[in-house]
Structures are given as structure tokens and as C-alpha cells.
């Protein structure tokens, strides 16, 4: 059974649909990357999956169970986590408090997860008692991803994790994403840096105007001349 499946998803804000029938599927332990031009509905798709905007048609399933239009809190309980593109930290809370908020629904002892997150993102360990708002862009992104990891998710949704980061930080974040994935977390992310992202992707989804244009393995998409010409800058 696939970890995650979306079939024929239509949805948008108000009456207007931005998504016009998106299909996706992801096995556990896979990295899926959504690429496409601006306004193709990439981030909208992530929000639709996470119950932040209404799905008018189609179905979304996690481990075979329908989660279409489920409440974010319920999805967190289903071990799915979402990292928004912007405003993805609590700036006045310390790094550690940010991580604790990720574990809000956990009633058990989550100290081992704190340790694990600090081992994923060593720069955070030294800054655990600093307000997250004082950190650099790359470190904030680490806080945001660390916060999402606190529930030990089976699937993590990342909305442009490298947006606004320097190339150096970008490759560092991609490396972390691989590490997280190797630890058994499914990753579905939207990326502007399509080429670099597809390199680490098991599956790639090229969206145009709210529909799948190409769906293939990351490698095949990079090697597909049509995709390369239109979406990867030649």
C-alpha cells in the first residue's frame, strides 16, 4: 500500500479551483518533489493535502485511509507534518520551545526526539536557548523542519525549504532532507530549484495549471529533454 496517494484532486480558494485534477502517490521512505512554473498550484497542493484549503473533488489517502479535508490537528495525530514556506517558526520562542511546540500533541516523553533533532541539525544544539527569531535563514529552516519532525512523522510536507537561502545552505538543507528520509520519513516537497531537487527525488511531479504534466522518477524527469527544456532551464 502506498504511504500517500492523491487522486484527481480539485481545490482552491472560494469557488475558484487552482488544482484541476492532480494525481500523486508516494511510497514510504520516498522523496517526492513537486516542480512547475509559478502559479501551477504547487504550494496549493501541499495546503490541500494538509487540510488548509478545501478539496472540492478527488481523494487524498494516507496509508489507505481517506484524509480528504481533514483538520490539521487530526493530520498531525496521523503523523503527518507540514513546514510552510514562510513564517514557519515561532520567533520569540527559543529554539527548544519551538521544537516542544512541534510535540504539543505528544503526551509521552519526547526527550529522545529533541536529541535526535539536534543530531540532525547540529547548529541548533548550541542555540537551543536562543529565540528562534535571532537565527539565520538557514538555521530557521532547520528549526522549522525540526519542529515538524518532533511527532516522528511518516510523511513530512516541505514547502520550498530552500527559498531565499544561499547556494551553500541550499545543498546543506538538501543533505539534511536525504538524512531525514533515510531515517524512514517520507518527504513530499515543493521546490523552485527544480534540477537540484529532482536529483534527490525518487519521484517527481511536474505541475502546470493545476494538473500533472509529467510524473516520473526524478532521474527520468531530469533526462527527459522536454522537461529539461521547459522547466529545468535547458
Amino acid at each position: 500500500m502506498a504511504l500517500f496517494e492523491a487522486t484527481n484532486v480539485h481545490g482552491g480558494y472560494g469557488g475558484m479551483n487552482i488544482l484541476n485534477g492532480v494525481d500523486m502517490s508516494l511510497e514510504a521512505d520516498e522523496i517526492g518533489v513537486i516542480v512547475g512554473p509559478n502559479g501551477a498550484g504547487k504550494s496549493t497542493m501541499l495546503k490541500a493535502i494538509f487540510g488548509l484549503l478545501h478539496v472540492n473533488e478527488g481523494e487524498i489517502r494516507l496509508r489507505g485511509e481517506s484524509i480528504t479535508n481533514a483538520d490539521p490537528v487530526a493530520l498531525v495525530k496521523h503523523k503527518m507534518a507540514f513546514v510552510p514556506q514562510e513564517k514557519n517558526i515561532f520567533p520569540t520562542l527559543t529554539v527548544e520551545e519551538n521544537l516542544e511546540m512541534g510535540a504539543f500533541i505528544r503526551k509521552d516523553d519526547f526527550q529522545h526526539m529533541l536529541d535526535k533533532v539536534y543530531s540532525f541539525f547540529p547548529p541548533l544544539a548550541d542555540k537551543r536557548h536562543q529565540p528562534a527569531g535571532e537565527l539565520s535563514g538557514g538555521q530557521r529552516q532547520m528549526v522549522a523542519m525540526g519542529r515538524a519532525l518532533m511527532i516522528e512523522p511518516s510523511l513530512i510536507l516541505l514547502d520550498e525549504p530552500t527559498a531565499g537561502l544561499s547556494p551553500l545552505y541550499m545543498s546543506e538543507i538538501f543533505e539534511r532532507i536525504i538524512t531525514i528520509n533515510k531515517a524512514g520519513v517520507g518527504v513530499l516537497m515543493v521546490e523552485q530549484h527544480a534540477k537540484q531537487a529532482l536529483k534527490i527525488a525518487h519521484k517527481g511531479f511536474v505541475l502546470v495549471a493545476g494538473q500533472n504534466r509529467f510524473t516520473d522518477t526524478g532521474e527520468n524527469l531530469i533526462n527527459n529533454p522536454e522537461v529539461a527544456k521547459a522547466f529545468l532551464g535547458g
Binding site: 494538509f50 488548509l52 490539521p72 490537528v73 498531525v76 495525530k77 507540514f82 510552510p84 513564517k87 514557519n88 517558526i89 515561532f90 520567533p91 520569540t92 520562542l93 520551545e97 519551538n98 516542544e100 511546540m101 512541534g102 504539543f104 500533541i105 519542529r147 515538524a148 511527532i151
Partner: protein, 332 residues
């Protein structure tokens, strides 16, 4: 020396008392603003409501206080706090929550809170009438005169029971609130929701619970402030009109969204009021021979009956020169 005692009684003690009361109201306003993003105009009425609950309970069990050697209304305070907190939670459920669910602009909820103000004032007058009432029924206000061990000071420092209680309570509340906000899961969630409500929801924080806890805290603090003020002075149905401006001024002076700023703001407003109505002629009297002008019998910045203008002018000044408040809060 007597002049100095007069200053302590009329400025230090009064300022601390009224400052504590404003601070408790302002903390409530600031917490509600940080979580729900609207200015809760009915907050002073929650304070009045709390005082009336305390009065009602005092009238029902007037003998409890004398038996314990404390003001009855103070003994009844935990119950009054619980009732006010409950009222606050249900007011939110009945009036503000449906509006939030429709995603209206904050100003609409502010208007709704004005409606709640009028409603609460009507209800309070309906049940309690319009006259002012004494919170002491079977007991009397304890007044402590502390004689100073100086030859020159033949006047005592005067402290009343409610003044001592409110100042002690405030210290306990500040410590408790600090520990709650920095050490507990729910307190941190409150700060998280104040920082970034969307992310709080995405993180799996149960925002409904956080909202409820906010009302419980704000309502309880309002009940304490209203009851202690009424114990110190008297219980009037129009109490809220005298409190509304100072507590909002205190919240804004402190920086909206900053609980510690609201505490500081409460004392800024409280002391500004007491200092501006203080009769400075008393302090200057010993030096009257050295002054270049004739000392009038009363010399205050503002006559007592215009005390309410003081927070108003502080509010204006803050809004003009430092709209984010002393502690860099949000702009209303």
C-alpha cells in the same frame, strides 16, 4: 517628615494599589489581544462582573470573613474568579467565536465587544440596581496605622487590608504567570499562538483550548482586580467606565501583546494618576520661605475630578511618540 509620610500614603501606597489593579486588567487585555487579535472593550465590565459576583457571595455568606479574620469578599474571591472565568468563556462562545468562525475582520469583533459591554452593564444594573454598595457586610475594612519611630513623624503610614492584599496578590500573580508562560506546555502554546497562529494550528496545537485558557486567565484576573478595587473604595455599577480607559492605556503603554509590559504600563498609569492629583503644596511647605512665589494651599497638576484625563493624555503621547509601547508590542 510628616510631609514625607503624606507622600507615601497618597502617592506610593495609592499608586501601588491602583497600579496593581490596572496592571491586572491590562494583562487580560494584552493576553486576549495576543491570542485573538482584537481589543476586548468589555474587559472592564468583566472586572465589574467579578466584583459583583464577589459581592453576591459576600451577601450570601457574610460571616465567613470575620471567622477567618479576612475580608469576606476576599475569602469568596476564588469562587468569584471561577464564576467570572466561566462567564468569560461563555461570552466568547456565544458572541466572539461565531464571528471568528466566519472569518470577520477584527474590528467587527471589537464592535461585538462594545455590545457585550452594554449588555453586561444592563444586566448588572438589572440585578443590582444603580446605587453604589459597600463590599463589607458583616465585617469592617481593616485599617493599619504604622507609627514611624522618628520624633519628627507624628503621623502614621496608613494601609488598608485590601491594599495589602492586592499588592501581595499581584506579586504572587506575576510569578505564577511568568512560570505558567515559560514553563508549562499550555503557557508556551499561548506564546506560540501569539507569535504565529497559523503555525500553531499546523503544529497540532489545539487552538480552542488555548483560547479557553486565555479567557479563564483574563476572567480570573479581572475578577481579582474588580473585587479588590471595590473592597478598597466601593462597588459601583459604573466601575467599568472608570477602568476602561486606564487599563487600555496601560496595555498600550506597555506594548500590546506583552504581559510584562502590561504590568509595567499598569504602574505607569497608576503612578501618573496619583502623582498628578497629589497636592505638591504639602511637600513644598517646609521650604515655603525660600520659594519665589506664594505657596497656594493646594498645588496639583490635575484636580481630582479630572483624574481620568491623565491616562488619556499618556495614551495620546504614547500613540504619537511610541505607538508600539515601551516594550515594542504590536500596533493596535
Amino acid at each position: 517628615m510628616n510631609e514625607f509620610v503624606f507622600f507615601i500614603n497618597n502617592v506610593v501606597i495609592s499608586g501601588l494599589t491602583i497600579g496593581s489593579i490596572y496592571a491586572l486588567g491590562a494583562v487580560g487585555i494584552t493576553l486576549i489581544f495576543s491570542i485573538l487579535r482584537f481589543a476586548h472593550f468589555a474587559h472592564a465590565d468583566l472586572m465589574t462582573l467579578g466584583a459583583f459576583f464577589a459581592f453576591f457571595l459576600t451577601a450570601m455568606f457574610p460571616a465567613v470573613g470575620p471567622a477567618l479574620g479576612l475580608p469576606t469578599a476576599f475569602v469568596m474571591l476564588p469562587l468569584a474568579m471561577a464564576l467570572t472565568a466561566l462567564a468569560a468563556v461563555y461570552i466568547d462562545k456565544g458572541f466572539y467565536k461565531p464571528l471568528r468562525r466566519h472569518g470577520v475582520k477584527p474590528i467587527v469583533i471589537v464592535m461585538a465587544s462594545l455590545g457585550v459591554t452594554l449588555m453586561l452593564q444592563g444586566l448588572i444594573r438589572m440585578f443590582m440596581g444603580t446605587s453604589s454598595r459597600n463590599m463589607y457586610i458583616d465585617d469592617r475594612k481593616g485599617i493599619h496605622r504604622i507609627e514611624l519611630p522618628f520624633d519628627l513623624a507624628n503621623r502614621p503610614i496608613v494601609l488598608t487590608d485590601p491594599q495589602i492584599i492586592i499588592i501581595v496578590l499581584l506579586v504572587i500573580i506575576v510569578i505564577a504567570l511568568h512560570l505558567f508562560l515559560t514553563r508549562t506546555r499550555l503557557g508556551k502554546a499561548m506564546r506560540a499562538m501569539s507569535d504565529n497562529p497559523d503555525l500553531a494550528r499546523v503544529s497540532g496545537i489545539n487552538t480552542d483550548t488555548v483560547v479557553k485558557v486565555t479567557w479563564i486567565i483574563a476572567g480570573s484576573l479581572a475578577a481579582i482586580a474588580g473585587t479588590m478595587l471595590s473592597l478598597d473604595v466601593s462597588l459601583k455599577p459604573d466601575l467599568s467606565f472608570h477602568l476602561l480607559l486606564p487599563i487600555f492605556a496601560a496595555a498600550i503603554v506597555g506594548g500590546v501583546g506583552h504581559p510584562y509590559g502590561a504590568l509595567a504600563g499598569g504602574f505607569v498609569i497608576g503612578f501618573a494618576e496619583t502623582l498628578s492629583v497629589f497636592n505638591w503644596a504639602v511637600l513644598l511647605r517646609p521650604w515655603r520661605d525660600f520659594l519665589w512665589f506664594d505657596l497656594p494651599p493646594t498645588l496639583a497638576f490635575v484636580p481630582t475630578e479630572y483624574k481620568i484625563t491623565v491616562p488619556f493624555f499618556i495614551l495620546l503621547a504614547i500613540l504619537v511618540w511610541r505607538p508600539t509601547g515601551l516594550f515594542k508590542g504590536k500596533v493596535l
